[in-house]
C-alpha cells in the first residue's frame, strides 16, 4: 500500500473506526469505550504530526477516489491550509474527549453520544483534508448529519426544537452549497482547490454567473459560519451539553463554515480574481456587520453559554473579514484567528461547563465570587476572556494586530474602527463577568453543588481548560517561534500571494 496515498485515509479511520465500534458497545463498558476514544484521539494526533513533518519536507499526501465519470473525483489532500485546520481539530478533539468523558459520567446513552461524537470529528477532518469542492461538500453535509444527534441527545422538547431549527438552517445551507458547486462545475469544468485559484482564466462572459455562484457558495457556507442573518441556529444549539457546545463552537461546525469560505475565496476563486469580481467588498461588510451584531447581542445575555454563543458569532467573522480584505497581512490575521479563536473559545466553554456541572451555575448573575470557589477554572476563563478582548500578549491580540495592520495596508481604514469597536464591546461583556467572579461575594449556597473533596472539581474536568488556556498564552507569547500558528499562517499566505 502506498504510504503517501493511504496516510490521510488512516487519519480519518482513527476516529471513524472507534466510532463505529462504540455504537455497538453496551452502556456499561465504560473502560473499553474510554480506551477506544482516547486511543483514537492519540493515534490521530501522532499521524497528524507525521503529516506536518511530511508537508514541511515537501511530501505530497493525496488520496483519490473516482466519483463520477468525466473526471470528478473525491480527493483528500494535505496542503498547508488543511494541515492548519486538521492539527487544530486533532489537538482539540483529544482535549474535548477527556473533558466529555468526565462531563457525561453517569448520563444515559453514552455509547450513542460518543459514536456520533467520533463521526463528527471524522467529518471535520474530512472537511479539513478535502482537496476539491465536491469532497468538501460531502464532508460538510456529513458534519450536519453527525452533529444533529448530539444536539437532540437529551431528548427534551427544547433539545428537539433546537435540533429542528439547526436542521432547517443547515440543510438549506447545504442545498445552496450544492447548487453553487454544480453550477461552478458547469461553468468552469473543474472544482479543484488550487493555490492560485482555478477560475482566473475564464473570459468575461461568465463573470455574472461566477458572481452569482459566489453568492450561493458563501450563503451555503455562511450558515455554518454563523454569518448574519444566517446565525439563528447557533444560540439555540446551546441547549446541548457543554462538550458538544465546545466542539461545535470551537472546532467543528463554525470552523468548517469559516474554513470553507477561506477555501472558496483563496483556492477556488483566488483572492485577486475575487476582488476583481467585486465580491470581496460586500463580504467584508457582511463580516463586519456580524462582528458588531454578535457582540451587541452578547451584551444582553444572562445565560453564560448564550453569551459565549453570540461571542462566537462575532469572533468567527474575524476570519471572514481577514480573508475578505484583500491583502497578505489581513489574510494572515484571519487564518491565525482560526486557530486562536478555537483555543480561546473552547477554554471558555469548558469553564462554563465546569460551573454548570460542579455548582449548577448557568447564568452570569449567579457567578458572583465563583473565583474563590473554583480558582483554577476561573483563571483559565480569565485568560480566555482577555484573549478574546485582545489583550497582549495573548493569542487574540496577535490576530487583531495583524487584522488591523492588514486593513491599513490594504487601504481599508474603516476596518480599524470595527476592530476597535468590537474590542470595546468584548470588554463590555467579558470584564463584568471577571469582576463579579473575582471580586464579589459568593452566595451562601450554590444551586447544585457537587463535591470532589479538596479539589475544586474533577481532575478530568479541570485539566482540559487549563491546558487550552496555557495554549492561548503560548500562542501569543511564542508567536515568533517556528511552529506557532502565526508562522504557519504566514507560510500559507506566502503560497497564496506568490505570483
Amino acid at each position: 500500500m502506498n504510504w503517501d496515498s493511504s496516510l490521510l485515509l488512516l487519519i480519518m479511520a482513527t476516529s471513524l473506526l472507534p466510532g463505529l465500534v462504540i455504537f455497538f458497545l453496551p452502556e456499561e463498558r465504560v473502560a473499553l469505550r474510554t480506551t477506544l476514544n482516547m486511543a483514537g484521539a492519540v493515534v490521530k494526533l501522532v499521524l497528524v504530526g507525521v503529516v506536518i513533518w511530511g508537508v514541511l519536507h515537501g511530501y505530497q499526501y493525496e488520496t483519490r477516489w473516482p466519483l463520477l465519470p468525466g473526471g470528478l473525483d473525491l480527493v483528500l489532500h494535505a496542503d498547508a491550509e488543511s494541515v492548519l485546520f486538521v492539527t487544530l481539530s486533532a489537538v482539540l478533539w483529544l482535549v474535548t474527549t477527556i473533558y466529555a468523558i468526565a462531563y457525561l459520567e453517569g448520563s444515559p446513552h453514552r455509547s450513542r453520544f460518543f459514536g456520533f461524537f467520533s463521526l463528527c470529528v471524522t467529518a471535520t477532518v474530512g472537511v479539513a483534508l478535502a482537496g476539491n469542492l465536491i469532497t468538501f461538500l460531502l464532508f460538510y453535509e456529513l458534519l450536519t448529519l453527525s452533529t444533529y444527534p448530539l444536539i437532540v441527545h437529551r431528548g427534551t422538547e427544547e433539545a428537539r426544537q433546537a435540533g429542528r431549527i439547526y436542521l432547517r438552517y443547515t440543510i438549506a445551507g447545504g442545498a445552496l452549497l450544492l447548487v453553487g458547486t454544480v453550477w461552478l462545475y458547469d461553468v468552469a469544468g473543474c472544482v479543484e482547490f488550487d493555490h492560485r485559484g482555478v477560475l482566473a482564466g475564464l473570459d468575461d462572459s461568465d463573470h455574472a454567473a461566477l458572481t452569482a455562484i459566489f453568492v450561493l457558495l458563501i450563503a451555503g457556507l455562511g450558515v455554518k459560519a454563523a454569518l448574519v442573518p444566517l446565525h439563528g441556529w447557533l444560540p439555540r444549539a446551546m441547549v446541548a451539553a457543554a462538550p458538544v457546545s465546545a466542539l461545535l463552537h470551537a472546532v467543528a461546525v463554525v470552523k468548517a463554515g469559516a474554513f470553507g469560505i477561506v477555501r472558496v475565496v483563496d483556492d477556488v476563486y483566488g483572492v485577486e480574481f475575487a476582488a476583481s469580481l467585486g465580491v470581496t467588498g460586500p463580504l467584508a461588510v457582511l463580516a463586519a456587520t456580524t462582528i458588531i451584531y454578535g457582540s451587541l447581542r452578547a451584551l444582553f445575555q444572562d445565560n453564560l453559554k448564550r453569551r459565549l454563543a453570540y461571542s462566537t458569532v462575532s469572533q468567527v467573522s474575524y476570519i471572514v473579514l481577514g480573508i475578505a480584505i484583500v491583502g497578505p497581512i489581513a489574510t494572515i490575521g484571519g487564518l491565525v484567528h482560526l486557530v486562536h479563536q478555537g483555543i480561546m473559545k473552547i477554554t471558555l466553554f469548558f469553564c462554563a461547563g465546569n460551573f454548570a456541572e460542579t455548582l449548577g451555575v448557568h447564568n452570569i448573575s449567579g457567578m458572583h465570587g465563583i473565583g474563590r470557589r473554583m480558582p483554577w477554572t476561573m483563571a483559565a476563563f480569565t485568560i480566555g476572556a482577555l484573549g478574546m478582548i485582545g489583550v497582549p500578549p495573548l493569542a487574540g491580540f496577535i490576530s487583531k494586530w495583524y487584522l488591523g495592520l492588514g486593513a491599513l495596508d490594504a487601504g481599508q481604514d474603516w476596518v480599524i474602527i470595527i476592530l476597535a469597536g468590537s474590542s470595546l464591546l468584548n470588554a463590555g461583556y467579558f470584564l463584568p463577568i471577571l469582576y463579579a467572579a473575582w471580586f464579589k461575594a459568593p452566595p451562601e449556597i450554590w444551586p447544585a453543588e457537587r463535591s470532589w473533596g479538596r479539589r475544586e472539581t474533577a481532575l478530568a474536568l479541570l485539566v482540559p481548560p487549563v491546558v487550552t488556556a496555557l495554549l492561548t498564552l503560548a500562542a501569543g507569547l511564542l508567536a515568533a517561534a517556528p511552529f506557532s500558528p502565526l508562522q504557519w499562517a504566514r507560510f500559507i499566505t506566502a503560497q497564496e500571494y506568490t505570483p
Partner: protein, 482 residues
Amino acid sequence: MLAGLADTPWSVLVILWPLVGALACFLWPRHANPLGLLAALGSVACVATLAWQVVEQGAQRHAVGGWGAPLGIDLYADGLSLLMLVMTAMVGLGISIYSSGYFDRKTAAVFWPLWLFLWTALNALLLSADIFNLYVTLELLGLAAVALVALAGGANALTAAMRYLLVSLLGSLCYLLGVALLYHSFGSVDIAILAQRVEPLPSVWAATGLMSAGLLLKTALFPLHFWLPPAHASAPAPVSAMLSALVVMASFYILLRLWLEIFPLSGAALGQLLGLLGAAAVLWGGIQALRQTRLKLLIAYSTVAQLGYLFLAFPLGTSFAWKGALYLLLSHALAKAAMFMAAGNILRFGGHDRIADLDRVVQRLPLTLTAFSLAGISLMGLPPSGGFIGKWLLLDAALYSGQWWWALILITGGLLTAAYVFKVVGYAFTPAEVSHEARTVPARMEWTALLLALAAVLLGLFALWPLTLLDIGSPLAGGYAG
C-alpha cells in the same frame, strides 16, 4: 468450462429459475421458505453470470427456442436492462430474506409462489425485445402484484388491491392499443426494427399518447397516482417494499425504452409536459408526506414524490440527464425497500405505526432506525449516497441546458424530503408518553433493512461501474458534458 458458461443463454435461465422456484413452492408449500430462499439465491447467481457475459461479450440477443421475430420472442440484454436486473436481484434477495422472517407458515405458502412469479415476470420484462412481449410481462407483473397486495386480507387491503387491479388493466389496455397502431404502421413489434422504421405519422402520435398514458398510470405520475398510497400502505411490509422498489420501476423502464428508441421525434412539448407533471408530483407528494400521521402512508407518498424526480429527465433529454434519473431509480429502489422494511420492523415491534408514538424506537431498534436514516439520506440526496449522484447529474443537466427551474424543483424536493424524514427520526428521540409491550423483531429483518440501506449509500461511492455499464449496447451511450 468458461467457454461453456459463456455460451449458455443466461438470459433464459434468469427467467426460468424463479419460475421453477415458484412452481416448487406451490407444489411443496410446507418447504416454501427454504425453497424460496434457494430460488432467490439462484436468481442472483444467474443474473451475476449474465452480467459477466454481457460485460465480456457485449449486449446479448437470444431468440427463445430458436424461433426468431416476429412470431418468436427475442430476449435482449444490454447495459440498461442488465443494470435493472442486477438491482432487482439485490432488492429481491433482500426482500426474500426479510420475508422468510416476516410471514407465518400459512401465509408464506401463498406468498412465495406469488413473489417468485412476480420476480419471473419482472426479469422477463427487463429482457423483452419487442413491445408486445412487454405488454404480456407487464400484465403478469400487475396480476402478481395485485394478488400480493390482497395477501394481508382486511377491507383496506382488498379494496386497495381491487382499485390497483382496475387501474393496472386500464393502463395495459391503453398500451396494447398503442401496440396495435404501431404494428399496423410499421409491420413489426421488435423494438430495434421499429427504431429504424419509425416516422412522424399521426398513428405514431396516437400511439405515443396512448402508450404513455397507460404507462404513466402504472408509474403513478401525478395526477394519476391516486391508487398508489392506499395500495402501498395497506400491503404487508415486504410487499410494499417490492411495489415501491420494483413494480413501479418496470413501467418507467418501458416508458424510457420507448422514449429513447421509438419516440425521439416526440418533440419538446411532451417532454416539458412530463417534466411539469413530475415537478407537481415532487411538490405534492412531498407536502402530502409531511401531513401523514402513519408511517407507511408517509413512505408511500414519498414514493409518489420520488417518482416525480424521474420525469424531470424528459425535458432535459441529454445522456447524463437520463443516467441521473436512472441512478435515482436505482437508489430509490434500495432505499425505499429498506424504508418499508424498517416500517415493517417498527410495526412488528410496537403493533402500530403512528409516527407521534414512536416510543423511543432509537434505543430498542437501533439497527432499524439506522436503516431508516441511511435510506432517508439517499432519498434526500445528501452525499455520499446514490441519491446524491443522481441529483448531481440531474442538476448538472438542468444548469447546463439553462432550464434552471428544474434545478429549483430538485432542491425544493430535497428540502421537503428532509422535512419528513427528520420528522420521523426526530420523534424517535423523544421520551415515550405511553409505553407499549414490545414484541421481538427477528434479526434477519433488521439486518436486511440495514444492508439494503447501506447499499443505497454505497451506491454513491461506487458510481463509476454502474454508470459505465449503461453504455454497453444501450441507447444511453454518451458523454458527460460540463
